[in-house]
């Protein structure tokens, strides 16, 4: 599960970069140029995927 969420985060991050540099134009209004809004949403999703991975990773049992 942790691995899948990290892979998902990487995919979101790659898509964010592609939108940011204008290499990806799917679901855009202009069809040309950069799309910072799409990149921002995908960047946030990448971050949330990493946070989710942190939640599901096995925690070490610390005793005091």
């Amino acid at each position: 599960m942790v691995g899948a969420l990290i892979v998902l985060a990487i995919i979101f991050a790659i898509l964010a970069v592609l939108y940011l540099v204008g290499a990806l134009q799917i679901f855009t209004s202009t069809g040309t140029g950069t799309h910072s809004r799409h990149a921002l949403v995908l960047g946030v999703l990448a971050l949330l995927s990493l946070i989710a991975a942190n939640f599901v990773r096995p925690k070490s049992q610390l005793t005091s």
Partner: protein
């Protein structure tokens, strides 16, 4: 738009944004009914509406400022820890889950959704649908109250049977978030469908309204911030738009305070009936 039209729309948006009657629907339908000459498909109209939304988000931030401090700190702490320990941390992640559907749909279907603003009849039809959604949610709640043998009891007693926001499941938060995504269509009320979603998820009315208002803030704020650069395009009366936004903020603050009190015992029915009536009248008149 004239100066007075900007002020009117600002006041209207702020007053209707948090009421479950679709501010966007009103901002699209009423100017057409009043035969105002400006075009709602004009590129400056959406940034204006978003600036008004920014005023509303500001009002909500002020109203729930203590909650937001705890939500933001709770989010950061829980994210680093990888575990939820307090109610505020749980609330922060419920809001994140509830915000994702609208954020994603809003960004990727933006151009299509903006094109709908040019059709007041579509907004009117969605307003009718919004009214039926509110009435349907109350119908289901009444049925649930009958099953729980709460029929005939005092409203505060009926409401006490239902839950508070921190008890909401993540699946239910996602359901409310999906409801919120419907509000990207002009005529569907964001607060209306999220309060209705909250009721379906088992929240009491006041808590459903609180969750709706908290859920509104990041999405309205983000949409506003992202549109701000477009306000600096030539020919946009920024000073007048800002005045409209201040009026929207004041009206939204007053509305939120009223609604939180109203939903202690009030229901969605009057707003549902209003939406069906106004939408139907608009459909008849906007030919």
């Amino acid at each position: 738009m004239s100066f007075w039209q900007i002020l009117f729309i600002g006041l209207l948006q702020g007053a209707t944004e948090l009421f479950p009657v679709s501010s966007l629907g009103h901002a699209v339908i009423l100017p057409s009914l009043l035969h105002w000459s400006y075009r709602q498909s004009d590129p400056s109209f959406v940034p204006f509406l978003v600036l008004l939304h920014l005023g509303t988000a500001g009002a909500l931030l002020i109203l729930y400022r203590r909650d937001w401090v705890q939500i933001v700190t709770g989010f950061v702490r829980a994210s680093l820890r990888g575990r939820l320990e307090t109610e505020q941390e749980r609330l922060a992640f419920l809001l994140v889950v509830g915000t994702i559907p609208t954020g994603a749909l809003g960004a990727f279907a933006e151009s299509y959704l903006k094109s709908l603003f040019a059709y007041p009849r579509i907004a009117a039809a969605f307003l009718v649908l919004n009214g039926f959604l509110l009435l349907g949610a109350e119908l289901l709640r009444r049925r649930d109250e009958r099953h729980a043998r709460l029929e005939g009891r005092a409203r505060p007693e009926q409401e006490a049977h239902y839950g508070e926001v921190p008890r909401l499941s993540f699946r239910a938060a996602l359901l409310v978030g999906l409801c919120q995504a419907l509000a990207l269509f002009p005529g569907i009320s964001r607060s209306g469908v999220t309060i209705a979603g909250g009721l379906l998820a088992g929240l009491r009315h006041q808590e459903a309204a609180r969750f709706s208002f908290l859920l509104a803030t990041p999405i309205i704020g983000a949409a506003g911030v992202l549109e701000v650069p477009s306000l600096f395009a030539p020919g946009i009366p920024l000073g007048q738009y800002l005045l409209g936004a201040v009026l929207a903020a004041l009206a939204a603050y007053a509305s939120a305070r009223f609604l939180v009190r109203y939903f202690r015992s009030g229901r969605l029915d009057p707003y549902g009936i209003y939406c069906v009536a106004l939408g139907a009248v608009a459909l008849l008149l906007l030919r």
